[in-house]
């Protein structure tokens, strides 16, 4: 009857595609895995090094400074990297966020922009908020290596000495994620 209407079985959204900001200039390694539904916005450069995984719906916003992500990092879903800090004082650093090699940013974590440094092999847990200018882990030593920080300034030090094993496990995880997450770096370039 109304054949013209039924011609396409797949429903298309009437609303225009949400474009939350300018398309960020990117500098990707060829071996990264970035999901189609990741969000990259801002006007500073986003650098992502080799074998890093960006899960779906992770949000990288470089409008407040450059974002640099090291090798073999895992950035999980719903994270917000480079979020605007509530603190209005300008930071002295030109970098927004630097995430070193083998870091794992878990679901829903927020990393504010403004000279924020995440050290090698760090694990930023579920729903954490890392403030502007924070420096965690190697090689900055403001928060020393292998420290677990949980709440209200309490902390303990991981003395198990398993960081090599942890890095190996992370590499294995990335191999699996490479098969599971369809990567589409071309979309962001």
């Amino acid at each position: 009857m109304n054949g013209s209407k039924m011609s396409s079985s797949k429903r298309q959204s009437i609303l225009p595609r949400v474009q939350s900001g300018p398309k960020a200039p990117v500098n990707f390694s060829s071996s990264i895995i970035i999901a189609d539904s990741a969000l990259l916005t801002g006007n500073h450069t986003i650098n992502i090094s080799s074998e890093t995984v960006i899960h779906p719906r992770a949000k990288l916003d470089s409008s407040n400074g450059r974002i640099t992500i090291g090798r073999r990092c895992i950035v999980n879903e719903r994270t917000s990297i480079g979020a605007l800090s509530a603190d209005p004082t300008p930071s002295e650093s030109r970098d927004g966020v630097v995430i070193s090699d083998y870091a794992n940013i878990e679901v829903g974590a927020v990393i504010e922009s403004g000279g924020t440094l995440i050290g090698e092999g760090s694990l930023v847990g579920v729903g954490c908020r890392v403030g502007k200018g924070a420096r965690l882990g190697k090689p900055w030593e403001i928060v020393p290596d292998f420290t677990v920080i949980y709440s209200n300034g309490t902390r303990r030090i991981d003395k198990r000495g398993v960081s090599d094993l942890k890095n190996k496990a992370q590499a294995r995880q990335i191999e699996v994620l490479k098969r599971l997450i369809p990567s589409n770096p071309a979309k962001f370039q």
Binding site: K5, P56, R57, E77, R78, V107, G108, G125, V126, G127, Y150, S151, A169, R172, Q173, E175, V176, R179, L180, I181
Partner: protein, 197 residues
């Protein structure tokens, strides 16, 4: 004169699932819903993180054998919660293992679940973190803001709270009806009914 039915906020399936159009379901072929389950807006289920490894067998595996997230009946996933299968190194390779939810499981807003198993009649409050490979048995109440560490096993009938989460009490006798989600199921959907007072 359009005979097209007006599109509601929820997609209602034959088995009674009510899935919000704004829910984010990734890898739907690996997600099993038992029926009568409510999935609210912005809830996220990572079905794409399915088990790998046995794919080499080649022979046609039964459909649904590679489930990443299995959800029972009358479950209620609130706004902004996230279900993701836990992963670990197993026999030398990294693998994701399935996440199983029983029946009548309530998951609060903004909660992240990476458990191995959640039993039946479990209430999990808002902004809870359920660590990887934790096991929650039946009739458990997790209070809001709790952080359940990885690999924790929570026995039946406990009340759990804190960061890290500890068992702080027991579900009182006769308090089991409070876990029923049948009435709550009726309050959402395209023609919601009010809760009976």
């Amino acid at each position: 004169m359009s005979r097209k039915p007006v599109k509601g906020e929820y997609i209602e399936t034959d088995t009674g699932n009510k899935v919000s159009r704004k829910a984010i379901l990734i890898g739907t072929q690996h997600i099993m819903l038992g029926g009568k389950t409510v999935i609210q807006a912005e809830a996220m289920i990572r079905g794409d993180l399915a088990r790998t490894g046995q794919a080499v067998s080649g022979s046609a595996a039964a459909p649904g054998s590679n489930t990443a997230v299995a959800i029972g009946r009358y479950c209620y996933l609130s706004k902004g919660c996230c279900l993701r299968p836990p992963g670990r190194i197993y026999k030398g390779t990294f693998t994701f293992l399935p996440l199983r939810l029983g029946d009548h499981v309530f998951i609060g807003e903004g909660t992240v679940v990476q458990a191995a198993t959640i039993g039946s009649h479990v209430y999990i409050g808002q902004n809870v973190v359920v660590g990887e490979f934790s096991i929650i048995k039946d009739y458990v109440r997790v209070l809001e803001g709790a952080v359940i560490p990885p690999n924790m096993v929570i026995p039946s009938f406990s009340i759990v709270a804190g960061q890290p989460a500890r068992v702080i009490g027991e579900v009182p006798e006769g308090g089991h009806e409070a876990f029923e989600l049948r009435e709550l199921y009726k309050t959402v959907g395209n023609n919601p009914q009010p809760l009976p007072v």
